[in-house]
Symmetry: C2
């Protein structure tokens, strides 16, 4: 009997669907009934995570806890949090639930370590970068985090907020090549798409080389944790 | 305050995500918090609907009711059923819940009537075709349903089950052009993609002309029912 997955979603809404689709694609199933039972709460009442961490915005934890409890009550046996920045609140959230909550940056660090990566470029929100959510997870595996210069970090935020969240700027208007070149200059051997909106943008842009997608890492970890057979052995 | 949408999903899992994404894309929102709260139950324990209707397979209604009650308990104020064939069980399901359950074939018939369509070609499962789920909804608006010949209907089932659900046959191996020509010969002015797996297949194949997507119709109806502002006025 496969376990039921609960998804604390809405951060953003499209990223929640992206995770769900990756779980479906990574499950070895030939009919509907062989897939994993997922329950997704696209809770759009959760306040912006970066605003809370850096600018005194409303605390997102209470709404995240509400979603987690709603999912547990509905039968979720494993919880996922498809928002890298939200992992800043991981301990506060995990302490409020009784089922396992997978840790996306930790799962990602383990995958990077498995490939012998020594320096990983981090593309993420200001909240994730400045709070060190990834830096700390990578450090536990002896991996160094490289971050974009301030001007390039502004472009990463533009890609996330204007390119994906509000769709107010065409993705091609953001100089993604320059961002990656900047990270490469700083020693990055791989690029971690450490905001769940970025794999959506990069897929649309057709940029894949050297990129690791933590949403896909989390999806594969979830398929295994749920007791289903994955279609691949490796998230790269 | 926008209403919370509950999705009775898993029929199939990919179709659930397709509906969620269409709701997101059709909502006029510039940040996460302006989107609609959706809760999706990808209930893969729901038995196959066509098998139940035509071949004495297990009754899907009890599991559909379980999902509906789970979603109501979690706070859903409007329910959606992203499976056309499952609408065969609509009355049994609607009688078990206290919140409105939108009716996808009915919404679709209304859209067709708005365009003055007199004969609509129906691409659907054997269960939907033979039980007349669409035929009855269209008849209420004076629209005639045209169905594929038996050989072409077999190809529609192949596209749904082998092409999308099990991914065991490449979509391009199914003669979609022949299916549409057959329907056109039978008087079809438009093609209704009346199985939620079909808009996924047709999008991947790049076939759009003359097609109406009931998932998109349902998504637009849901955005309006939830009290959000849609990005388009028309689902065509």
């Amino acid at each position: 009997m496969k376990k039921t997955i609960g998804i604390i979603g809405g951060m953003g809404p499209a990223a929640t669907c992206d995770l769900m689709e990756k779980i479906i694609a990574l499950t070895d199933a030939s009919r509907d009934q062989e897939h994993i039972h997922q329950i997704a709460d696209v809770n759009t009442a959760i306040p912006d995570r970066t605003a809370a961490i850096l600018h005194g915005g409303a605390d997102p934890l209470p709404e995240m806890v509400k979603s987690a409890k709603r999912l547990e009550a509905a039968g979720a046996e494993i919880l996922l949090l498809p928002c890298n920045t939200a992992h800043y609140f991981y301990d506060g959230l995990a302490s409020q639930v009784t089922v396992p909550l997978l840790h996306m940056p930790e799962e990602t660090a383990r995958v990077l370590a498995g490939r012998g990566v020594r320096t990983a470029g981090i593309l993420a929100t200001d909240g994730t970068v400045q709070s060190g959510v990834y830096g700390k997870a990578l450090a536990r595996y002896g991996i160094r985090a490289a971050y974009p210069s301030p001007a390039m970090q502004e472009q990463v935020m533009r890609l996330i907020y204007d390119g994906v969240k509000s769709r107010s700027v065409p993705l091609r208007d953001v100089p993604v090549g320059d961002i990656l070149a900047d990270l490469r200059d700083k020693g990055a051997e791989v690029f971690v798409l450490a905001c769940t909106e970025l794999p959506i943008a990069f897929a649309e842009l057709g940029v894949r080389d050297g990129c690791l997608d933590p949403t896909r890492v989390l999806a594969l970890a979830a398929v295994r944790a749920a007791g289903a057979r994955p279609t691949v052995s490796d998230p790269w």
